[in-house]
């Protein structure tokens, strides 16, 4: 059964190839079957493999499969090989399940689009790339998946390419993530040059035996990999591409945010955990980057008007939580939050997409309002997603994953009260902005008439994801609330699970209660500000300071403008200065010299035969004279 592992990334890849090559002759029905069926097949295989793997995971925690050697160049022989352990198992299952639901949803969402075939070809390739990334057993194959994900995000963000704005957003995403990719590539070169292998397990072993903790090489390599992770996962300072990436169709946003692209960075750091253990300073940097991103993006999410941009900033902030967890050494906590986040963020995006579709492409939340009764399925699923995002205590998955991270941050020697406070503030912001969406979009008076209502293909994934957003948390419960540790027990086979015995029961209770109170407080503030007294928020935004701050948040803390000043404009200036290429001057002088010589020589060519004869005779005489007299 485990030998079928290669089919997991291969099926969507073949689906994509089939759609691209032969899709032109197929009807929509066949396209749907191929596009969704390949991902469904991949999920079934992943489920079978996962089931078989889980039965023997504690005796045999790693399964490797090598298909063939990619290339062999004097000692450099990366393979096309897959590596299955608890970490890649969780990633693989979440990716296939969420992707399948998004694909099913897309069959209705995109049904009237002329690019139906193109859409599914890209989506399948996206899923295949991400699965390659998480299953790769060496960093080069991982990099292949990494770049494939980047390519697909470019193609899908610019899916409606007739609008120039969408093309610009796609380019922005591509170029910004490329910065991180360049760092990652340099990191790979460094690792290979020093350790002479790219196989992840060998690499980590050799690094641990050859490098000491805190050595310069380990720090450099870890920092370069962090650069790559920051680019793909849209963390500070490369977060600017993600809000603009909303230009693509909504299922694409759901896929990018929940199951693929942005979680690649989290996976990379979790996978290279051994390397980060050797570079504690970089690991602290991971935590700080996560905490800062979490706060900045949370503030920006508070003031956006476009429903998808709110969710985009929310993703940046939630990925910040995962980075925070990775940074303090709560490896399993980060992956747990990745899992629950995949469910509820996909749910939120798909639900928002259904709302947008029903309102004829209306994105502004202040044009929505009062949709509670008109779109009950969207309303209830969205509320579940928002509650999970906000961490509504006890009943939602988001609460358990976020609470786990916050506990770890408090107790870990790498964490501490400051990072914990940042996480808490982030949790408050999260609760406020997620319920701001609920109250503004679904309550109050109706402002736009509802067109079509979502059909079965769209509501079914919503309901399933809502269910997952509620129950997924019960696989891992804190000590005081059931003490279930299925998830950690599974991941313990690959990653150390840190348990903090220094945490007294009293502190534990206090932290738990604090998390609950903060979530409820955030929801109450949202209720107060956006439903009970809507004038209050506008009044605050109307004052001088409040207005300036909310404008700053709205523009994402002005990072776009900063980068425009720092990089784009100097680049354009240099291009303008150099538009008649400086190096061209050299060749211009060469051309001038040739012209000069030509001007001198062309006078000899008069066409006068007698002149030619005279020259010929003179020349002959001169030659003979030289021969005779020398």
């Amino acid at each position: 059964m485990l030998e079928l592992l290669w089919l997991v990334p291969a099926l969507p890849f073949f689906g994509s190839a089939l759609l691209a090559v032969a899709g032109g002759w197929c009807s929509r029905r066949v396209l749907t079957v191929v596009g969704v069926g390949s991902v469904a097949g991949s999920m079934i295989v992943a489920g079978l493999v996962g089931f078989r793997f889980l039965r023997s995971v504690h005796s045999d925690p790693v399964y490797g499969q090598t298909l063939w050697t990619w290339m062999g160049v004097s000692g450099f022989a990366p393979t096309i090989g897959f590596h299955l352990d608890a970490l890649s198992l969780v990633m693989m299952l979440v990716i296939t399940v969420v992707s399948l639901l998004i694909h099913v949803y897309s069959t209705e969402f995109m049904i009237d689009d002329e690019g139906y075939r193109r859409f599914f070809a890209y989506m399948n390739l996206f899923v295949a790339s991400m699965l390659t990334l998480v299953l790769a057993d060496n960093l080069l194959l991982l990099y292949l998946g990494w770049e494939g994900v980047g390519l697909c995000s470019y193609l899908l963000i610019g899916f409606w390419y007739r609008e120039p704005v969408n093309g610009q957003a796609a380019q922005k995403a591509f170029i910004v993530t490329r910065l991180g990719d360049a760092a990652l590539a340099v990191g790979l070169f460094l690792l290979f040059a020093r350790l002479n292998t790219l196989n992840i397990q060998d690499l980590l072993q050799r690094a641990a035996s050859q490098w000491s903790v805190g050595s310069g090489l380990a720090i450099a390599a870890a920092a370069l990999l962090l650069g790559g992770a920051v680019g793909k996962s849209a963390q500070l300072p490369l977060q600017v591409w993600l809000p603009d990436a909303m230009a693509g169709p909504t299922p694409v946003s759901a896929l990018i945010h929940a199951a693929t692209m942005v979680t690649a960075g989290v996976y990379l750091i979790a996978r290279m955990q051994g390397l980060y253990n050797l570079a504690p300073s970089v690991q602290t940097a991971v935590a700080v980057v996560g905490a800062l991103t979490l706060l900045l993006a949370g503030c920006s999410a508070l003031v956006q008007r476009d429903i998808k941009r709110v969710l985009a900033y929310s993703t940046i902030s939630q990925i910040g939580y995962m980075f925070l967890a990775l940074g303090v050494g709560a490896w399993t906590g980060a992956i747990f939050h990745f899992m629950t986040h995949a469910f509820f963020k996909a749910l939120l995006f798909l639900s928002a997409g259904a709302v947008i579709l029903s309102l004829h492409e209306e994105h502004d939340i202040y044009e929505m309002g009062g949709l509670r009764t008109e779109l009950p399925v969207c309303f209830w699923t969205f509320v579940v997603g928002a509650a999970s995002l906000a961490g509504l205590p006890l009943i939602t998955a988001g609460f358990y994953s976020k609470d786990g991270i916050l506990l770890d941050v408090w107790a870990s020697p790498l964490g501490g009260p400051w990072l914990w406070a940042a996480g808490m503030l982030g949790a408050l912001l999260t609760a406020i902005y997620s319920f701001r969406l609920v109250f503004v979009v679904f309550f109050g008076e109706r402002r736009t008439a509802v067109g079509s209502k979502p059909g079965r293909a769209m509501t079914l994934p919503l309901v399933l994801l809502a269910g997952l957003s509620l129950v997924a948390g019960y696989v891992e419960l804190p000590k005081l609330l059931g003490n279930v540790h299925l998830f950690n027990e599974l991941l313990r086979t690959v990653q150390p699970v840190t348990e903090y015995d220094n945490l007294s029961t009293g502190t534990h209770v206090a932290l738990l209660l604090f998390t609950m109170v903060v979530a409820l407080l955030g929801i109450s503030i949202a209720y107060l500000l956006f439903l009970l007294r809507p004038g209050l928020a506008t009044a605050v935004a109307g004052t001088g300071w409040g207005g300036a701050l909310s404008r700053c948040w709205f523009e994402g803390w002005g990072f776009d403008r900063l980068y425009d000043r720092l990089f784009v404009r100097p680049f354009l200036w240099a291009a303008r200065v150099n538009q008649d290429d400086l190096i061209d001057q050299v060749y211009r002088y060469v051309a001038w010299l040739c012209r000069l010589l030509y001007g001198a020589l062309h006078r000899m060519q008069t066409g006068q035969v007698r002149w030619y004869a005279a020259v010929l005779a003179t020349g002959s005489i001169a030659m003979i004279a030289i021969v005779v007299f020398s």
Binding site: H602, Q605, T606, Q608, R610, A613
Partner: protein, 105 residues
């Protein structure tokens, strides 16, 4: 054998050189293309004379053989040259060689 030996080398070559120089001067200074052709003939004959003289000096037949070649060449040259002159006259209505200087660039 005896008669050829009496042919003086120096005078013969001087005459050939003189003729060649006259032909060259004619070639350079005459503008009428027929005269140019005639000047070329003179130069060819001068060269032939030099061959004959040299052949006589060394008692070899090669000089005379070369002269026959030169004559044949001259005949060919004149036929082509006159044909060119006819085309030239049709084109320009005159025989001034300088009129054909179309090649200045």
């Amino acid at each position: 054998m005896t008669t050829t030996a009496s042919l003086p080398l120096m005078q013969g070559l001087l005459l050939a050189g003189l003729l060649f120089g006259l032909g060259l001067i004619g070639l350079l200074v005459r503008r009428n293309i027929i005269f140019v052709l005639m000047a070329v003939e003179i130069m060819l004959n001068a060269a032939g004379l030099a061959f004959v003289v040299a052949g006589a000096r060394w008692g070899q037949a090669d000089g005379q053989v070369m002269f026959l070649f030169v004559l044949a060449l001259a005949a060919a040259e004149v036929s082509v040259g006159l044909a060119l002159v006819l085309r030239f006259y049709r084109e320009f209505n005159q025989l001034d060689a300088d009129a054909a200087c179309r090649m200045w660039g």
